[in-house]
Point group: C2
Chain length 193, copies 2
DNA sequence: CGCGGGTTTGATGATGCTCAAGCCCGGTGG
DNA sequence: CCACCGGGCTTGAGCATCATCAAACCCGCG
């Protein structure tokens, strides 16, 4: 199951790892399984791991005073999740992360993370590529959040990330887009005509 | 004027650079002055530089079909700006960047950027810190965009980034928050009571 | 003095939320 | 096998928020 990580590194560092190299990296991770609905991180706790998703789906969200959930990220295979601020500063996280499906992940502690960063140049490359992709994606998301209507945001997602629509229930898509479930329902009805 | 860069690196890499080291890095940048309203990047062009702001203020924005500007970023001293996707992929940018005040910047070409990344370890550290800060900031911005009302977003900005409110005209703040100028005006009237 | 950009103010209307009810469907227990 | 339950989705009516349009205002500057 660690092959997913290997493929990921090969792809994003544009390097084919030797078995040795890969083993050194893989050994720093621990693999773990989470059931549907199980928490990987709860608001107020410190985010102790960088999480790499091997198989499954997670959501990262905040809960406001009214108890409403706001999904910041929907994540599936080959994505990293976590609260980086909490992870590096050891501060309490404002996010919750839980499993939307049964999910297999690889976990990396801060100590191991730092060790890999200082001993494995290829890991540095991978991480910076990840940052890069992340930054582009979040930039686009901000742009769509401040400049588009609910319907446009939905159509945008449909065009650029249809996989998410099939993978997550509609109310989570709504929360992810920052609109109510009812509005998503009405938009779908309207556009499918 | 390059002292700004030096301070920045010292601060974010938590390293005090030797004069030598700093000089090697500084030499890869070219400094340039932009007048108020002057473009640093126009939609459709390739983003040829990573921009470090020494003094002044810039805005990064898109323009929609109706001709309305949507500000993705408001940037002042000691920030990096640019369209990273365009910069690394050499693809046409979807963003405009122009000067809100007369501004001094340091420019880094892709070639020099790559050279620094491979020859100056401290530069790698600085960049990853920059990515890190960036990611945290954009994450929070997304969260506020999808979960807060116009008024809450304004109050948030007032609490967390009051400097921006003094530095940029109100209509830009409005665009940055994703609301109309009139709404900002009304919110201000309401809260100052 | 008059011009012009930015801000304010008011009136109107659209977008999207809230609340509430009904529906669909898969799962569970009798 | 069927009845029931519950979660998610749909639908409708009323309402709040915020955008739009238009006019007035303010103030620095030529």
């Amino acid at each position: 199951m660690q092959e997913a990580l290997r493929d990921y590194i090969d792809k994003y560092a544009s390097v084919t790892l030797s078995d040795d190299e890969f083993e050194r990296i893989r050994d720093k991770f621990t693999s773990k399984h989470f059931r549907k609905n199980q928490f990987l991180l709860q608001e107020g706790d410190v985010c102790k791991y960088s999480i790499f998703i091997v198989k499954g789906a997670l959501r990262q969200y905040t809960v406001d005073k009214k108890g409403i959930e706001h999904i910041v990220n929907l994540c599936t295979e080959n994505w990293w999740v976590g609260d980086r601020e909490s992870f590096t500063m050891l501060s309490p996280s404002i996010y919750n992360i839980d499993a939307v499906e049964d999910t297999d992940v690889l976990l990396l502690t801060k100590a191991n993370f730092q060790e890999l960063m200082s001993t494995e140049p290829v890991f540095v490359t991978v991480l910076s590529t990840m940052d890069y992709n992340n930054q582009i994606a979040t930039q686009k998301r901000i742009n769509s959040a401040i400049s588009l209507s609910a319907e446009e945001r939905y159509l945008n997602l449909l065009a650029n990330n249809p996989a998410l629509l099939q993978r997550f229930p509609q109310n989570m898509i709504a929360s992810f887009l920052g609109v109510s479930p009812e509005t998503i329902s009405r938009i779908r009805k309207k556009v499918q005509l």
